[in-house]
Symmetry: C2
């Protein structure tokens, strides 16, 4: 349970030994990642970042997903890591609230694109990168999260460093140094939620991890016990004392198998409430007949998403009230329901005022209890035991494709969408990422 | 004592209102910074960083000090911030152990070079940048330092962001965003001391601060209460509860006036012991006649620099035993005394074994008590009350020039050294940094 042991386990794991089910889940993760990143790629914050980096002059060696620009691999890592998290629509490892793909894929794919790595090796390296950031996350969670660290920026850089380091074939000692350089650059305060700086976190983490691997490859030194040392990462940024998870049962299972994908483009804690609202819509509960909606939620829901009167799409992601109102009115909560115009629409604002929330510590994070009171006196009661998208009620491959198509609408045309889906499902047989990446350039 | 108030104070301070004594001290800081950065500019770790960034393709818009390369301003910030700290020879604000110049000057000078800012405005912006990082440092010190954060990476990015932001003329709100983007990227675990990753910290902090200002200028958003919020920088990374120093007595004094410069290229906590060893040398104590040297030191000395048997120059910086031995034998501890060959030389290794240290909580950090026992029975006792380079016993301008000449030897020839010193003393009358920077390119 030391940095040395962890690096040794990573470096002694042959990429070809990663089992096929983990590779399949990596492909699900990839499709989900590309969909949300391409979908958000035209956001103003990506324009701003590329405006800044454009002035520095860069090689055109890696694709900015969903856009015409090609940039250097470092800038690509930042830009794609940001766009993957803009819509709060990316994947989640539920036991640590880590969004594993946004910090790992951008650095890894940029490196793999430049160095013509095979699709299967890239996917296997992703499995290893996620494994390491998630294990470190399991050690520090919940104490660092409670303190105020955003898990994805806080531990994501380790995954980026390890996955790129695996493709480079770093020695165990170099991998220790890469982990050390990554350890000294944690990113991300939860205070930034609701601002552009939140998606900046995985972008920054991805680039930090990439730089860590690139420097370690050149011989750059760092502490070789950066995780467990008295003034190392784990003790400085968390209250954790049990570090066994860093290395326990290595290879018995792969953490990527527990990855979950969001059906709705907002914080996962609101998903049970949206699931319930969508169900009420199906039952015929509508603006015309509903008087009052009461939801009982896990305490985290109001802590994270308790905004009563969101003013725009970004704030609406932190409002369980908006999400329930929109879900009930529209029968779904997709990207459209977070457009500023929908958030401030009269019917939505009015419906929000009828939604009332109370917390109940007996309700799990993927559960919700809802009562809808109709004007006629009829009461609908609903209990969602496991929201759609949870481990127990996962999205199907078909639903992932639907989500991808919805997310990339207006950026990729139908033919490009279909080609990209096809390339993704077959990526483990591809000699390089060339075809896949070329489709990720904007087509509309 | 909020981010908003701090940003407001910064933005309402006219650069031309910074008083001349502060500008003069900024020039001392600049000469010291350029000397140590140029001196270390050929180190392997700078080669490694430039090897990595070279592959990304960069504009040639900012000078890597002491080298022929010109690179983009972001890369220049990283490279120059690293070289400024490689020798552990840079300046220190003693009450927080913050090395103020290494994270601030690189970003600031790169930006000022590119945008043809006047010498005086650049120096005034430096004063403001240092003011902000030091005030934040005063809030979090000693708790974040005790926890394991390296102050210079931990708070240095704020100074870089603010100084560049001042030159840009950011609005108060933009400055709040810049502080927020900086706040979410703290760098630097003390565990990294003794490795290449330690000087990486100010380099990374400088580039992080620069990026924060550049993004804020474009309209990038962040929390506007990034410092004081419940999950903001101060509470997440320290146990501090009193934030009054963020804004108290703004403008009454400038923190740069308390800057101190190291006479010896190693951690400041060893300086009293070296001062004493140099004094013993002057008294004629030598390898031939000394039997045993006992030093009584502040507890921090052995905590930070207690390595008994350093194996190379880098480790020797963390060995008070080496420093006392070398100081006694050679009559000075400069860069030569940290070359690997001197660290492993027989006479030094032998003398080290005669040095014995004990801690005494009654001894301040800039003090030391030494007893040297000669074979003939004679005992020399010495008490250093304030080591050379301390606030009470500061280096003179002549000593700063001597240090600069020694540090840049072999990289700048005599004429270039003299020109650079001259340009520095007159920088507040220069229309741009052009002449100054052109001399910083390697001449040998």
């Amino acid at each position: 349970m030391t940095t040395s042991e962890l690096a040794s386990l990573v470096c002694s794991t042959n990429l070809s030994s990663i089992p096929q089910p983990a590779i399949e889940e990596a492909k699900n993760s990839l499709l989900n990642y590309m969909g949300v990143a391409i979908g958000a790629s035209r956001h103003a914050m990506i324009d701003m970042l590329l405006d800044v980096t454009h002035e520095w002059g860069r090689n055109q060696e890696a694709q900015v997903l969903g856009r015409p620009e090609r940039v250097d691999i470092y800038t690509a890592s930042m830009a794609n890591g940001m766009s993957a998290h803009i819509f709060d629509y990316d994947d989640t490892l539920l036991d640590t609230v880590l969004h594993p793909s946004a910090p790992v894929f951008p650095a890894l794919m940029a490196y793999a694109e430049k160095h013509e790595v095979s699709g299967r090796d890239m996917l296997a390296a992703f499995v290893l990168g996620v494994e390491v950031s998630q294990r470190i996350g399991q050690v520090v969670y919940p104490s660092s999260y409670d303190k105020g660290w955003h898990m994805t920026g806080h531990v994501g850089q380790f995954g980026a460093a390890v996955s790129v380091g695996c493709l480079m074939g770093l020695s165990t000692e170099q991998m220790q140094h890469a982990l050390g350089i990554a350890a000294t650059q944690p990113v991300g305060l939860r205070e930034m939620f609701g601002t552009y700086t939140k998606p900046f976190h995985p972008g920054r983490a991805s680039a930090n991890g990439l730089l860590a691997a690139l420097l370690a490859q050149k011989g750059f030194t760092s502490s070789t016990q950066s995780l467990e040392a008295l003034r190392g990462f784990l003790r400085v940024t968390s209250e954790a004392t049990d570090f066994s998870r860093l290395t326990s049962e290595w290879g018995a299972n792969w953490e990527i198998m527990k990855n979950s994908y969001k059906p709705f483009p907002c914080g996962i804690v609101i998903h049970p409430a949206i699931d319930a609202a969508v169900n009420l819509h199906k039952k015929g509960v509508s603006a015309d007949n509903v008087e009052r909606i009461e939801i009982e939620v896990n305490p985290l829901v109001l802590e994270l998403t308790g905004k009563k009167t969101p003013r725009d799409g970004l704030e609406a992601k932190f409002s369980v009230f908006h999400c329930v109102a929109a879900g009930l009115l529209d029968g779904w909560v997709g990207l459209v329901q977070f457009e500023d115009s929908r958030v401030t629409a009269e019917d939505v604002v009015e419906m929000r005022s009828r939604v009332h929330a109370t917390i109940d510590t007996g309700i799990a994070e993927d559960q919700v209890r809802v009562k809808a009171y109709e004007k006629c006196g009829k009461v609908h009661e609903l209990f969602i035991e496991h929201a759609i998208g949870s481990i127990e009620n996962p999205m199907t491959k078909e639903q992932l494709v639907q989500k991808f198509v919805g997310a990339t609408q207006g950026i990729l045309d139908r033919a490009h969408q279909e080609n990209l889906i096809e390339e993704t499902w077959n990526l483990d047989k591809a000699a390089s990422l060339k075809n896949l990446v070329s489709i990720c350039a904007a087509s509309e």
